[in-house]
C-alpha cells in the first residue's frame, strides 16, 4: 500500500492542513518512506492476537458524582482570539 498525490491531498483536507504544490512531492516521498517501515509489520501473523487498547490493566477510574464550581466563563474565554458577550466568535457559518 502506498500513498499517491491524490491520497495525500485527501488526507490534508481531512486534517485541515494545506499542502502547496511545491511541497507535495517531498511530503508524499517522506510519507511513503515511513509507510514502508509500517509494512514491515506484515511479516507478523496477528490473526489470533487481541488488539491492546489499554496498557494499565485496570478499569478507568471515575470521579465522584459531586457538584463542583464550573462558573469560570471569563477564564475559559480569556485566551480566545475573538470574543463577544462572553462567547467565542467565529466567521459566519451559514450564508
Amino acid at each position: 500500500m502506498s500513498i499517491d498525490n491524490l491520497t495525500a491531498r485527501k488526507l490534508a483536507n481531512l486534517a485541515r492542513i494545506e499542502i502547496s504544490e511545491d511541497q507535495l512531492k517531498d511530503v508524499v516521498e517522506n510519507l511513503r518512506t515511513i509507510i514502508r517501515l509500517f509494512d514491515q509489520l506484515d511479516e507478523v501473523d496477528t490473526l489470533s492476537v487481541k488488539p491492546m487498547t489499554d496498557i494499565t490493566g485496570h478499569f478507568l477510574s471515575q470521579r465522584d458524582d459531586l457538584v463542583i464550581d464550573t462558573d469560570c466563563q471569563d477564564k475559559i474565554i480569556s485566551n480566545a482570539p475573538k470574543v463577544d458577550h462572553g462567547f467565542f466568535v467565529v466567521p459566519r457559518i451559514i450564508d
Binding site: A12, R16, N30, L31, L41, P51, I77, R92
Partner: protein
C-alpha cells in the same frame, strides 16, 4: 557562586535545611547561569521575578524550620506543562500567546513541595522529535562539543532537549520533562544526565499538553539517580482528573536506592544488538553488564522476538493519537487564528501556518492510519503488535528483575543532521519505544564517553510499578561508572573566579 551550580538537588536540600545557604542565593545563581548560557536556547520563558519572590517566601519558611521536600529549589519545567499565568507554548506557533488559567497536576505537586519555577524549557514542537530542532522558538544547542569537530553545534536530543541542556549546562539543578517514545531518556543520554520515565499512570497527565495520550508520561531529568528519585517521588500522585492515573501509591524510592543488587537478575535482550549498533555503544553496554555482574547480579540473556517491530508500531500509534489530540487546534478558543473569511479557511490556514513541518507530517500519518480502508492494516495491526510486545516483556519479567539496554544507538549528532530524513530521525527511538508502548518504568544513566568525547547512557527497564528496582540498578551503574565528565562550558564554572 560556582559552588551553587555544582550542588546536587539532594545536597542543596540539606544545605538549605541547615540554613547554610539561602534559596535567594541559590535561585539567583541559577538565574544568572541561565543568562550566561542563553546562547543554548534551552529556555523559552524565564520566570525571573516569580522565582525570586518564591525564593524569598521559601527562605521565610526555612527560617521557621518549615518547608516541603523541595523547599526553595528552582526547577526548570518543559514548556509542555500548563503553568497558571505563565505562557505555555509547546514550542508551537499555534499556541501563540496562550496563557493557561490552570496549573498541571505534576507542577502543582512540585510547588506544593516548596519548589520554585525557574522557567519553561524549549522542546521539539508538541514534543515530536529527537533533536529539539523542530521548535518554533529555534533549536536548542547542547552544551557538549565533540573532540573531533569542536566547532560544530550538537543537538541535546529531544523532545525534552531544553530540560536536558539546562541540567547539563548547570542552568537548572533539576528539570522535568515528558516522555512519549524516549523524549526524556534519549536527551538525557545525549546530554550526560539522568532521565527517568516512570510507569504509565504514575504521573498525572492533567495539564500536560497531549501528544499521544496512551504513551505520554512525565518524569525527572537530573544529574544523579538520587535526585531523580527525590523529584519523581514528588511528581507522582494519584489524580482523579486523569482517568488513567494509577491508584497504587509510589513506594519510597530512596529506601532501597543504595542497597546491594546481589542476587537480582538482569536481562540482556539479544534483539537490541542490532546490526547498525556502533561498536563503542556495544562495548559500553557490555561494560554495564560486567559492572552489574561484579556487584553480584545474575545476568541472563533473553530473547524478545518482537523488538524489531516496536518502532513501526510506535510510529503508527503515536501519530494516530496525535492526529486526534491535535484536532483541537482550530483557532477558535485559544492561540493563533489566521484568515477569518470563512470557517473552513480559518481552520485550514490557522493549522497550516501554526504547525511546523514535523507536526504536520505526523498529523497526516495519523490521519492515514486511522482512515477508512487503512485502519485495519495499520492502526489495528499496531494495537495487536503492542500486545505481542507486552507479551515479550511479560515473558522476560518471569525470568528477570530488570532489563539492561543502550538508551540510544549512538552519541549526539550535529544540529541539522537527519533533518531531511524523518525515518533516520525516528531510528533514534529504537531502544526507547518498546518500554513506552508497554508503559514500563525506565531510566537512562550516563556511563561513559564515546570516542568523540560525547556522553553515552545505558537504559534500565523494570516491571510495571517497580520503579524501586529501576533506580537501584541505575544507582549501581552510576556508582560503578563514576561518570564525572563535564562539558567545557561547565568546567569553567568549577574554576575560581
Amino acid at each position: 557562586m560556582n559552588d551553587f551550580l555544582n550542588l546536587s538537588l539532594a545536597e542543596a536540600r540539606t544545605r538549605l535545611a541547615a540554613r547554610d545557604i539561602s534559596s535567594t542565593e541559590l535561585t539567583k545563581a541559577y538565574l544568572d547561569r541561565i543568562e550566561a548560557t542563553a546562547s543554548l536556547n534551552a529556555y523559552i520563558t524565564i520566570t525571573h521575578e516569580q522565582a525570586m519572590l518564591g525564593a524569598a517566601q521559601s527562605d521565610a519558611r526555612l527560617a521557621k524550620g518549615e518547608g516541603g521536600i523541595l523547599e526553595g529549589i528552582g526547577i526548570a519545567v518543559k514548556d509542555l506543562f500548563c503553568t497558571n499565568g505563565v505562557q505555555t507554548t509547546a514550542a508551537s506557533r499555534i499556541l501563540d500567546g496562550f496563557i493557561p488559567m490552570y496549573e498541571s497536576t505534576v507542577t502543582t505537586n512540585l510547588w506544593n513541595a516548596g519548589a520554585i519555577l525557574l522557567g519553561k524549557t524549549n522542546l521539539d514542537e508538541f514534543a515530536m522529535g529527537s533533536s529539539n530542532t523542530t521548535s518554533y522558538y529555534g533549536a536548542v544547542e547542547s552544551p557538549w562539543r565533540s573532540t573531533d569537530a569542536p566547532d560544530k553545534k550538537l543537538v541535546p536530543g529531544g523532545s525534552s532537549g531544553g530540560s536536558a541542556a539546562a541540567v547539563a549546562a548547570r542552568s537548572a539543578i533539576a528539570a522535568i520533562g515528558t516522555d512519549t517514545g524516549g523524549s526524556i531518556r534519549q536527551p538525557a543520554s545525549f546530554s550526560g544526565i539522568v532521565g527517568m520515565k516512570p510507569t504509565y499512570g504514575r504521573c498525572s497527565r492533567w495539564g500536560i499538553i497531549a501528544f499521544a495520550s496512551s504513551l505520554d508520561q512525565a518524569g525527572p531529568m537530573t544529574r544523579t539517580v538520587e535526585d531523580a528519585s527525590i523529584l519523581l517521588q514528588v511528581m507522582a500522585s494519584y489524580d482523579p482528573k486523569d482517568s488513567t492515573s494509577a491508584q497504587a501509591a509510589m513506594p519510597n524510592l530512596l529506601s532501597d536506592l543504595n542497597k546491594s543488587i546481589k542476587g537480582m537478575i538482569i536481562g540482556v535482550p539479544i534483539e537490541y544488538q542490532i546490526d547498525s549498533l556502533p561498536e563503542e555503544t556495544s562495548k559500553i553496554w557490555k561494560q554495564g553488564v560486567n559492572w552489574l555482574k561484579s556487584e553480584g547480579a545474575d545476568i541472563v540473556y533473553i530473547s524478545m522476538p518482537h523488538t524489531k517491530y516496536a518502532l513501526a508500531t510506535y510510529y503508527i500509534i503515536a501519530p494516530a493519537e496525535a492526529s486526534s489530540n491535535l484536532a483541537r487546534y482550530d483557532g477558535v478558543r485559544y492561540g493563533l487564528r489566521i484568515n477569518e473569511k470563512n470557517i473552513t479557511d480559518m481552520y485550514t490556514h490557522t493549522r497550516t501556518e501554526g504547525f511546523g513541518e514535523e507536526v504536520k507530517r505526523r498529523i497526516l500519518l495519523g490521519t492515514y492510519v486511522l482512515s477508512s480502508g487503512y485502519y485495519d492494516a495499520y492502526y489495528l495491526k499496531a494495537q495487536k503488535m503492542r500486545n505481542l510486545l507486552y507479551q515479550d516483556f511479560n515473558q522476560a519479567f518471569e525470568k528477570v528483575d530488570t532489563i539492561l539496554t543502550p538508551t540510544t544507538p549512538s552519541d549526539a549528532f550535529e544540529i541539522g543532521d537527519n533533518k531531511d530524513d524523518p525515518l533516520k530521525m525516528y531510528l533514534q527511538d529504537v531502544f526507547t519505544v518498546p518500554a513506552s508502548l508497554v508503559g514500563l518504568p525506565s531510566i537512562s544513566v550516563p556511563v561513559g564517553l564515546s570516542k568523540r568525547g560525547l556522553p553515552i547512557g545505558l537504559q534500565v527497564i523494570g516491571r510495571m510499578f517497580d520503579e524501586n528496582s529501576v533506580v537501584r540498578i541505575g544507582r549501581t551503574l552510576e556508582r560503578a561508572a563514576q561518570f564525572k565528565a563535564m562539558t567545557a562550558m561547565v568546567e569553567d564554572t568549577t574554576k575560581d573566579e
